[in-house]
Structure formats: C-alpha cells, structure tokens
C-alpha cells in the first residue's frame, strides 16, 4: 500500500526535484514554528504563568495562528511522507511521532470542549483548577516530543531495531 503511494506522480515529482522538496521541507518547519510558537504561551498561561493576563485576548490571537500552523505542517508533512511513504511507515520513530501528534490533538480537543475553555466570560474559577494546568503542561510536552521524534526519524533511520523488518 505504501509502495503504491510512492508511485503517485506527485510523490515521484517531489523525490526527483531540486527545489520543490526543500521548499516543502521549509513549509513544514514554518508550520511547526507557528503551531508551537503560538501554543506555548497559551499552555504556559494555562499552567499558571501570567495570571494577570486575561485568557480571552490571548486565545483570540494565538488559537488561529496555531490552527494555521497545524494546517500548514500537516499539508507539507503529508507531501514529505508520500515521497518516501514505505520507509516512514516502517519507522518506529515515525509511528511514535504520529501517536504523539494524535495525543496532542486529542488533548487540544478535550480542552476546547471543557466548560472552562468554552466559558465566554473568564471568571476566577473558569481557568483555575488542576485540569487546565495539566492540559497545558501535557500540550507542551506532547508537541515538543513530536518535534523531537520528527527529527530523530531522519537521524536514526537505519539504526538497528528502529525500523520494522522489510
């Protein structure tokens, strides 16, 4: 299945390109930069930093940037993946990265559905408590780990035991 993805014209085009591939690579990094750069201030606020700063305006600015970054990172990431789909699919590091991204997204979704986050007017109680704090810390840890594993996919590709047998 992944071998056939590699045969797609767009995958072959990217694999053989001089400029398109590094361009897509850069787009992936820009996407991650926007996502992580926007989400860390939010996560830190949730974790208890800057209590004097109201959450609503922070959220209004940073959430759309994070979502934009996520969309860019996913789009570019899918393109990078299809260029060498079988190799990445067989990589334990890549699989672990996908699990972490899924967990980070689930964490974000859970937070978004939480009453504290949905409340329009911020009250003393709305952002207090242990759960927003845990969600904020979990978000930073999960996204950072996903980024680290993403890098390790390239660095440890041929390392024994990190790729499933062909």
């Amino acid at each position: 299945m992944f071998e056939s993805i590699e045969q797609w014209p767009i995958a072959a085009e990217l694999r053989g390109s001089t400029w398109a591939y590094p361009f897509v690579n850069a787009a992936h990094i820009v996407g991650i930069a926007l996502l992580f750069g926007a989400i860390v201030p939010l996560d830190l606020r949730l974790a208890g930093f800057w209590r004097g700063v109201p959450v609503a305006p922070l959220r209004r600015v940073l959430v759309p940037i994070a979502v934009l970054g996520l969309c860019l990172a996913i789009t570019a990431g899918v393109l990078l993946f299809i260029a060498k789909a079988a190799d990445y699919a067989a990589s334990a590091l890549f699989q672990a990265k996908m699990v972490l991204v899924a967990l980070a997204l689930a964490n974000a979704a859970a937070l978004r559905l939480a009453p504290a986050w949905r409340a329009k007017e911020e009250t003393a109680a709305s952002i207090a408590g242990i759960w927003p704090r845990i969600a904020g810390i979990a978000s930073m840890v999960l996204w950072f780990s996903a980024i680290l594993l993403g890098r390790l996919v390239g660095y440890f590709k041929d390392y024994p035991g990190l790729t499933w047998a062909e």
């Binding site: 694999r15 053989g16 390109s17 001089t18 930093f49 260029a83 950072f144 660095y155 590709k157 041929d158």
Partner: protein, 131 residues
Amino acid sequence: MQRRDFLKVVLAGAGVTFLGTSAVHAHHGWAWATDEKFEITGTIITVKLGNPHGELTLDATGENKGEKWTIEIGQPWRNERAGLTKALLKTGTEVTILGKRAKDPKLKVAKAERVTIAGKNYDLYPERLGS
C-alpha cells in the same frame, strides 16, 4: 513577578533543549560518521533514488563479504552533477564506494563521497575528496 516568570520560562526551555540535543547522535550531515576513509565494494541489491537522499543496499564482497551495507548517495542534484544516473545503478552492478562509515560498529551504513563503477569515478563530494 513578571520578570521572575520570564526567567522561569527561559530556564525551563534551556533545560529541555539541552536534554534534547545531548541525546542526539546525528545521522544527517556527517557528524554520525568517522573521519577515516572507508572503502567498500559490493553488488547492488536495491536502489532508492531521490530526496532527501538516494540509498543503495550492497551485498559486500572482499573483506566485508557476507555483510549487507546501506550506502547513502546524493540528493538528485548532487548525483546529476557527478554524472551518476539511474541507468548506471542497476541491481547486480558491482560498485566501489569511497566515503565515511558510521561510527557505531553495529551500523553497516556509510555515506559515499565517490562511487566507482566499471573503473569510472563519480565524485559526489569533490570538495571533500580533496586531492
């Protein structure tokens, strides 16, 4: 309070970055390889060309006989510059690789600086081969 918060953030970030980088053993670039010249000859088992870099697997002959080696070659523009085409890299072809091997002895992986096929040299990194 605000200044203290900032300091805490910077310290936490620095700690995480240190943990991350100190654990990493580079694969991209050259840091993962030894500095000594390494030569290996074998017949091509598989060929994968393209970004982020091409890759051959070799059934080694000579002193490494019986070993299966993975050889990194260039990305498309580098192979093209060296004149190393897809037609030259056919399964079963005998090639000699001059380059750098991974430091980790368990890793049968090397990065090619020069590929020699039928007596002809294809220099991927002329600046590293020097004179």
